[in-house]
Symmetry: C2
Subunit: 440 residues, 2 copies
Amino acid sequence: MPNVIGNLLVAQSGGPTAVINASVAGVVVKAKKYRSIKNIYGGANGILGILNEDLIDLGQKTPEAIKSLRHTPSAALGTCRYKIDFKKKPEQAALDMDRLFEVFKAHNIRFFFYIGGNDSQDTADKVAREAVKRGYDMRVIGIPKTIDNDLPHTDHSPGFGSAAKYVATTVMEVAADISSMATDDGACCVIELMGRGAGWIAASAVLAKRQSDDAPHIILLPEVPFDENVFLAKVKETVERLRYCIVVVGEGLKKADGSEYSADTNRLDAFGHPVLSGAGDRIVELVSGKLNIKARSLKLGYAQRCAEHYASDTDSREAFACGRAAVDAAIRGKSGFMVKLVRISGTPYKCAIGLQPLGDIANVEKMIPRDWLSVDGLMPNKKMIDYARPLIEGTVRVPVEGGLPKFVVLKKTLIARKLPERGYLPSNASSHSGQSGNVR
Amino acid sequence: MPNVIGNLLVAQSGGPTAVINASVAGVVVKAKKYRSIKNIYGGANGILGILNEDLIDLGQKTPEAIKSLRHTPSAALGTCRYKIDFKKKPEQAALDMDRLFEVFKAHNIRFFFYIGGNDSQDTADKVAREAVKRGYDMRVIGIPKTIDNDLPHTDHSPGFGSAAKYVATTVMEVAADISSMATDDGACCVIELMGRGAGWIAASAVLAKRQSDDAPHIILLPEVPFDENVFLAKVKETVERLRYCIVVVGEGLKKADGSEYSADTNRLDAFGHPVLSGAGDRIVELVSGKLNIKARSLKLGYAQRCAEHYASDTDSREAFACGRAAVDAAIRGKSGFMVKLVRISGTPYKCAIGLQPLGDIANVEKMIPRDWLSVDGLMPNKKMIDYARPLIEGTVRVPVEGGLPKFVVLKKTLIARKLPERGYLPSNASSHSGQSGNVR
């Protein structure tokens, strides 16, 4: 593909992570090295902002500001859950796509990078195909990002390592606490973790286990249909032996019939909505109700996505490297690919960076292989440990002010618009309800 | 008081903190400097272990093991919630007290240190008075400890600073995350924090606020009767202006009639127990039900007591200093006092250590003064900020192994018992129910 000269646009999408900004930093730092890349823009609030022609001039930011992104959680450019959905909303999607290319052309965008999970890679794929179809010379590369670690074809996704490090640390600390409180009665502590339908985050809590009796004692994964009796027997046995039991549960835990364990339409709150009871609270009710054991729950929620103060340095470096690699690939003429991490060796840990066609990514959810778990399915085995251990190495150094982390807030001054306002309203993908399952 | 020669016994009580072990380390390090102190024992599981004559020889531990206690959360000696209750269980209490002094005498305990909150200081007070009454020459000193910060007469309690640092950091990180997700719909995130009837931990989340629009936007404290309308109006105004709103709520939030906001006996779970719905979940229901705004909750739970990986170095040093000061006081002949922290100046922050009669401590709960809060009661003001800010300075350095903290587990090898087994069963203060309010 002949060389192209023009501007670059990078945007962030979906739920943030502790290292998603490191990927933006990687893109910006690398892009500055190529003369064929002129201006470096960031899209405010993902694709939604691009539809609004809300572009931020990242090339004008100081090197210090860009460097600070490497230790700042959240999506510094802003993010969205907006989906260009040709299946459900074909007319809207067609309007959106036309508008996107109007914006790309108006600002001579020739390099487009979209950082996100499954849905975002799907969007990137559609944009890449459209560019070809429309004969508009633009290189589109997806950059992986998700704490859920459910993107296929990449060894793991930037964001996961930091979430894993945070949850394993918390499990270790809570276990120290509870075990020292454990007197004759016994106690059960249930820690609910994110990951939606995939159990990667919950499974990574196994890293807290240095000795066989260490917590967590049970990990309930969405991949393994929940069997109350097997579970309760193990809680009972553990409490009788150790006087305490730490249970980790993935929010997306499922019953044998495939339905979500946390869903419960039998109970309504004061407003007539189903009671918002997470999987953790349900497990607490089960343990205290059936075993008469004191049980308490923790729900770390969003904290898992953004615990920068103890983020994995390995994760942060890889996120940065993915951003850099995306620019290199685009400059080499590649388009329609997602950057992926390829594990070269486990000990010593070594990852290379590769490319995977975007079309292979969308709508595929990577789950934990069954042979990475114990026979009863209640504990990941050595395969999972060997996989996850290297990803939590090192701690990001976060500057401190007044005893607390000092993050950067990127000023979102928009560049001058060149187009008339969008003549239609975008459909909004995010939900008003506040009560529905694991939508974040 | 003439000098006394004999052995020392230190024990931990109640809920652990990130720095309660630092106080044990302070006691041990200081005790080794005095020749009048012979053996240094730790009581396993607080007063309950002492009743069982379960004593650990701390004098034999290596200096490295003792030093490691300074960065290890949990109660390394074990803890309990056992109460010697002369009011409710006078016969049991009399038996317990006799047994305690049997153990003290059998092991020539002449220095007794009890590290804990209100109930534990009450126990220490009773033991000190009994020693005088029985003519047994033993110096009893209480060492303050509680993340709830509700002990009176001391400027603050060891354990609080670390909890404050952890929750303020988490609020800051979650706010960065949510604000970058904030698109047109708006979102509300509710973070439930510990503290039982006192709002100190929840109030300390104000430290996350560097600019006036920074999170948290609302802090609901148990000290301020909850007014749904005032609260909802502020959530609405905040979401309209910023597109997101971070609400912090103390678990002990109360209605105007003084009852707990989280208690709800109208809803029963599958086992007929009241639905275990914390204050955070109730607020989420309220916001999504009344305002139709997407709302999610976090419940950090026990993690607030034990987040060693980001514990306050100031807090840890003070906890250590309190342990040392307790030994000094006892050697000077003092008994029946609690060590307290006395603030000498705010800027630069300087605290001295003093003593307060144990009788002044028991059954007094220190609350946040009303004039430390805004007029509407929904945000602490500069007085609270100036008070809490210095307590979170510095971060404890925790050794790392495999990307995770490395804590010490003190081997609890018991010394040889000298007494026959206790001829009666102790009443057990901890609860089986698992469903009751804020009992931890």
